[in-house]
Symmetry: D2
Subunit: 187 residues, 4 copies
C-alpha cells in the first residue's frame, strides 16, 4: 500500500513531495503491478519508492548528485531493488526506456515541454502522465500542452493540506504549500 | 489500487466522499490484504468498495435505507462480495464484529463519542481509526476524545481540493468543501 | 468603510465577486478619497459600489446589458451617484478616461493583454491595477505581462474562503471558489 | 484606508496577524470613525494601528512586555496617539472601559470564555466582536459560546492565503497558515 510517512525517508536538504501529495499522485497514476514507471526529477526518491512497491520497474531520473545519494539510501532502506537510478537531466536519459506505462514528473527544471515531447514518444497508448506543479507557469504550460495534444485526456486539481500540530490541549493548523496535480491519459 | 472515479459510483442524492478524500482516507488507514474493516456511515458505499478491493472483509454500517440500496448496487457493480451490509445506526451493530483492524467513520450522526467508545472495545491493538469530519464540532470532539485516551496516537489534517474545470481554452478552479481527516492508532 | 454583505446587492444571475474577495481587492487597491477608479467587467457593480464610497469617481465598464441594469439598480440602492456606467467591451471605452489612479479588472473576456496595454497608457505613475483571476491562464498571462513590463512592481495572492454554515448545533464549511488577486503599482 | 504591508510594522519575534487577515478582520468589524475599539492580545499592535486610523479610540490589551514595547514603537511609527496600551492579561483590564463598539480578539491565552463573558457586559448593543482563531479548540469554543448566547448573531469563515513568490520567471505559492474569523453582532 501507499502512504509512507515523511519522516521515514532520508531527505537531507533536498525538497521532498509531502505524504499526502505523494499518495494522491500515486493513486492518480493508477499504477498496476506489471507497470513500468519513470519518475522524473526524483529528488529524494520518495515517489519512486512508493511506485516501486506496487509496480514492476521504476526508473528514477535525477540530475543532482546529492539527491542521487539520497535515492540510493532510500532504495536500500525500503528494499526496493526494482528502482534503476539514472543520473541525468531529463529529457536526457528518457529515450532509451521501453514499454513505459506511467510517467511521474515531480520536477522539470525548465525543460517541461521537451520532456513532454519525449515522454509522448515513449509512453504506451493508455499510459498515464502525472505532474506535480508548484508554480503557476509550469501548471499553465502543462495544461496548454495537453489542450493542444488531442491524443490526451487530462484532469487537474489543486491540493492544499493543513496539518494540525498538537500543542498541549490545542491543535493548530500549519499549512503545506499548495500544489497542482495534472493527470493525463494517452488515448 | 485505490482511486475509483466519482462518476463510476451509483450515488443518487446520497452525499458521497469525493475521490481525493477517499484516496487519502484509505491510504491513511494503511489497509492490508488480511484486514477486517468497518465503514461507519457508509453512505453510497464508496469507501467500503475501495477498502474491499484491498482487504479481507468490510462491514458497511448505514442507517438510511435509500443509501443501503445504493451500497447494494455498488457492491454488485464493483463485484466486491466481501462487503457485509448492516442496516443499523452505529454504535448499534458494532459490538458483534470481531477482530477489527480498521474503522472508517464517514458519518456519525451525532453519536460520535458512543461510537468511539464502542470502537475502542472491539478494535485490535495496532488497529487504525480514520474519521472524515465536515464540521468544526465533530472535528473538535474527535480530537478531544483522542487527546484524553492516551492509548491512541493521532494525527489530523485538513484537505482542500480544487478541481480545474476545462472551459474552452481556460481551466477554472471549482472548490470542493474542505474536510478534516483524523487518523488514530491504538497502542 | 468596505465590506457590504453579498445579499445586499441586486445580483440576478450575474456572477458576483464575493464579499471577502471584494474587501481584499479594494484594500489592495489602496483607494484614496480623491482617486479616479475604473472597474472593468463590473458585473453587478459590487466592486464599483465599494470603490465609489471611498473615492471621488468610478467608471464601471460592462458589456452585458443585463448586468448594466443591475449596476444601475445597485447605484440607486447604495446612493453612489459618482459611478459612471459605460456599456462597452474593454478596452473599448477606456481611452477617453483621464487621470486614472486605480484600475480594477474583475473580468477581461479574453482581452486581457489589450486591456493591460490600454490601461498602461491611461494610468498615472503611482497608480494601482488589481486583477481578480479565476483561471490559471488569466493568472499566468497577467503575471507574465507584469514580469515583462519593468515599470510595474507586482504581488499576487491566492485567496480561499470557506464559509461556515450553521446547521443546528454544527458549523459546516462550504468552500467558495479560490481566486488569484494580482496587484501592480506603476513606477 | 486599511491594508498596511506586513514589513512596515516593527515585529521582532512576536507573531503578527498577516496583512490579508488584518484587512478582513478590520472590514468584518465594520469600524466607524466614532467607534471605541478594544484589541485583545494585541501582539505587535498591527490590528490596533489599522483600527486606530479609522476609529476614535483603541485600547490595546497585551500581557507580554516584549510585545508592549513593539506596540509602543509601532504607535510612534504610524503616529496613532489614539491608542491606549494596557499591560494586562485579559479579561483583566477590560471592565474599566466604557462605551465599547468593537472588540477584536487576536489572542485569548486560554481565557476565551472569561473574556467573552466580560466583553458581553461592556459592549454596546449593536457592537461587534471579531475573533481570529488559529486552533480548532478556540474556534469550536467561540462558536459554541455564540450559539448558546442568543443575543448575538454570528458568522464565521476560514481564510487561507497563498502568496506567490517571484523566483526568476516563475511564481511559486507559499501558504500562510489558515485562520478562522468569527464575527458576532450583539442584538
Amino acid at each position: 500500500m501507499i502512504g509512507i510517512s515523511d519522516d521515514e525517508f532520508m531527505r537531507g536538504d533536498v525538497p521532498m513531495t509531502k505524504q499526502e501529495v505523494r499518495i494522491l499522485t500515486i493513486a492518480k497514476a493508477n499504477i498496476k503491478s506489471t507497470d513500468v514507471v519513470i519518475d522524473i526529477g526524483a529528488g529524494t526518491g520518495s515517489l519512486s519508492i512508493e511506485a516501486a512497491r506496487i509496480s514492476r520497474q521504476v526508473f528514477a531520473i535525477e540530475k543532482n548528485p546529492v539527491a542521487i545519494e539520497l535515492i540510493e539510501q532510500n532504495v536500500e532502506k525500503f528494499n526496493t531493488p526494482n528502482i534503476i537510478i539514472i543520473n541525468a537531466e531529463a529529457p536526457n536519459g528518457l529515450e532509451a526506456i521501453k514499454n513505459v506505462d506511467v510517467v511521474l514528473i515531480g520536477g522539470s527544471g525548465g525543460n517541461l515541454i521537451k520532456i513532454l515531447e519525449t515522454v509522448n514518444r515513449i509512453i504506451k497508448t493508455g499510459g498515464r502522465i502525472v505532474l506535480n506543479c508548484i508554480t503557476i507557469q509550469t501548471t499553465a504550460a502543462a495544461l496548454d500542452w495537453f489542450k493542444t495534444h488531442s491524443n490526451y485526456d487530462y484532469e487537474a486539481i489543486q491540493v492544499q493540506i493543513n496539518r494540525l500540530h498538537q500543542i498541549g490541549q490545542y491543535d493548530m493548523a500549519k499549512a503545506l504549500n499548495p500544489i497542482y496535480i495534472v493527470t493525463a491519459i494517452k488515448k
